[in-house]
């Protein structure tokens, strides 16, 4: 009997999962861990098992449920704040499909010229600013933020406000009351914004939702505000952190970087590989077992919590050869960095496009880009539920 591990586990290398992930996956792939609130949950770590858990209806995403494994103790949202991410079938499908049409591959393609423009403007601003510059502030945060604001019809002028609150939400040690207040503030903001659009809905995502939901007779301001909140928050820190980490990943692997600067056709493959390699939202994919089920030879019982460790799955040699190497030519499309199953990230194709445009443009326009501090000194987000960098000093 091995000792029960505590979760979350910490990384010792910024480019690798916590060593315990590897140990668990190899020795005890479906195992019990202790959560911060003292309760226990199962951790699933093989690629195949992670996909099973995330795509099986016997595992519920209902975060409101009292038995749901919580990584941030003492925080549960009231029922009127429910969004698609906490819903199960049959409720989940229609909620997701209501906004899905806004995120199709084709819709995202139509945004390409505008995203390119935004990226170019931000790189202009970076190059016009002081050296070294902070890539997080100059590029990583503003790009996804501007894009999601424009899509939703949220004034970018307010970005300081919601970025500050979003940052609190993803930090693990934000006290519950502060977390609560941050959620309230952004939800109230969203609700007011939507209220102001009800008489004359504009042609943006929120405006179109108002029209569409009214036609269906299902319009409720609180619920659209919750969706708006979700999209705004999800659109911020995730892509931003991937831009920063991806840049470091490529600069630290010049042979890989040369592959994309030599052939921009390979950038999308690089994006998939960087998503796999860093798997920034790994801790977010928790589920509650609602019917006894066997996973990887282990019986999981109804009522037990499960964490599907995406990062362990994405470093599983059974799914990826030499998994700890950054290899953009490996064909990493089956990674689970966007999750898997019915809740797989809705904004993934937006994220892919933003990352592709950023990496193509950044290294083309600033071929001499380099880190202005040793990797070991960079402020990696070891204390957040979304991995990333607080600052990224670069020079050229």
């Amino acid at each position: 009997m091995t000792a029960v591990h505590e979760f979350p586990m910490t990384r010792t290398c910024p480019f690798a999962p916590p060593p315990a992930y590897t140990e668990i996956r190899e020795e005890d792939p479906v195992t019990r861990v202790g959560l911060p609130d003292g309760r226990k949950a199962w951790v699933v770590s093989r690629h195949e098992d992670v996909r099973t858990v995330l795509n099986d209806r016997r595992f519920s995403a209902d975060r409101q449920h009292p038995d749901f494994p919580q990584l941030v103790p003492g925080f549960r949202r009231p029922d009127d704040e429910r969004t698609m991410i906490t819903m199960d079938a049959p409720e989940h499908g229609p909620a997701r499909k209501a906004v899905l049409g806004e995120f199709t591959v084709r819709r995202m393609e139509a945004l390409r010229p505008r995203i390119q423009e935004i990226v170019d403007e931000r790189i202009d601003a970076l190059m016009a600013g002081p050296k070294p510059g902070d890539l997080v502030e100059a590029l990583s945060l503003p790009v996804p933020s501007l894009v999601i604001c424009e899509m939703l019809g949220v004034p970018y002028a307010d970005h300081d406000f919601f970025q500050t609150h979003t940052a609190k939400l993803i930090k693990r040690d934000t006290p519950p009351q502060e977390r609560r207040a941050a959620v309230e503030a952004v939800r109230e903001y969203m609700s007011d914004l939507i209220a102001g659009r009800e008489d004359n809905p504009p042609d943006d995502l929120l405006g179109r939702q108002i029209v569409k939901l009214r036609e269906e007779g299902t319009y409720r301001r609180a619920s659209l505000a919750a969706t708006g909140f979700l999209l705004l928050v999800a659109g911020h820190e995730t892509t931003a952190n991937m831009i920063s980490l991806g840049t470091v990943g490529l600069l630290e692997n010049p042979d890989q970087l040369a592959l994309i600067t030599g052939d921009p056709g390979k950038t999308l493959d690089a994006v998939e590989e960087l998503l796999r390699y860093f798997t920034i939202v790994d801790a977010a994919t928790a589920r509650l077992c609602v019917e006894d089920v066997e996973v990887g030879g282990q019986l999981i019982r109804a009522g037990e919590g499960v964490l599907a460790l995406g990062y362990a799955a994405n470093r599983d040699a059974a799914a990826f050869e030499n998994p700890d190497e950054l290899d953009i030519e490996r064909g990493a499309r089956h990674h689970v960095a966007f999750g898997f199953g019915p809740h797989q990230c809705l904004g993934q194709n937006l994220a892919r496009m933003e990352l592709q445009i950023v990496f193509d443009t950044l290294f083309r326009r600033i071929p001499g880009l380099k880190l202005a501090a040793p990797v070991d000194d960079l402020p990696f987000k070891d204390d957040a539920n979304i991995y990333g960098l607080y600052r990224l000093p670069v020079t050229w």
Partner: protein
């Protein structure tokens, strides 16, 4: 080979479209999959298999 799509299971992530836009598209309305060519031949057979492999909801299957 024939591609079978279950739009009821489809979660509209568009992984299939990314894999092979000549075989798959997504509905503008709700993002679910539209199979453009359900009997791929040649190189497209491999692409169809990859699409089945990456589809996050097992909405796609192949009848060999």
């Amino acid at each position: 080979m024939k591609i079978i799509a279950d739009t009821g299971k489809c979660v509209g992530a568009g992984q299939c479209v990314l894999t092979e836009p000549s075989l798959f598209d997504q509905s503008e309305e709700d993002g679910t999959v539209i199979v453009l060519d359900d009997q791929p031949v040649g190189d497209l057979v491999e692409k169809a298999r990859e699409a089945v492999h990456v589809c996050p909801s097992q909405a796609l299957s192949l009848e060999e």
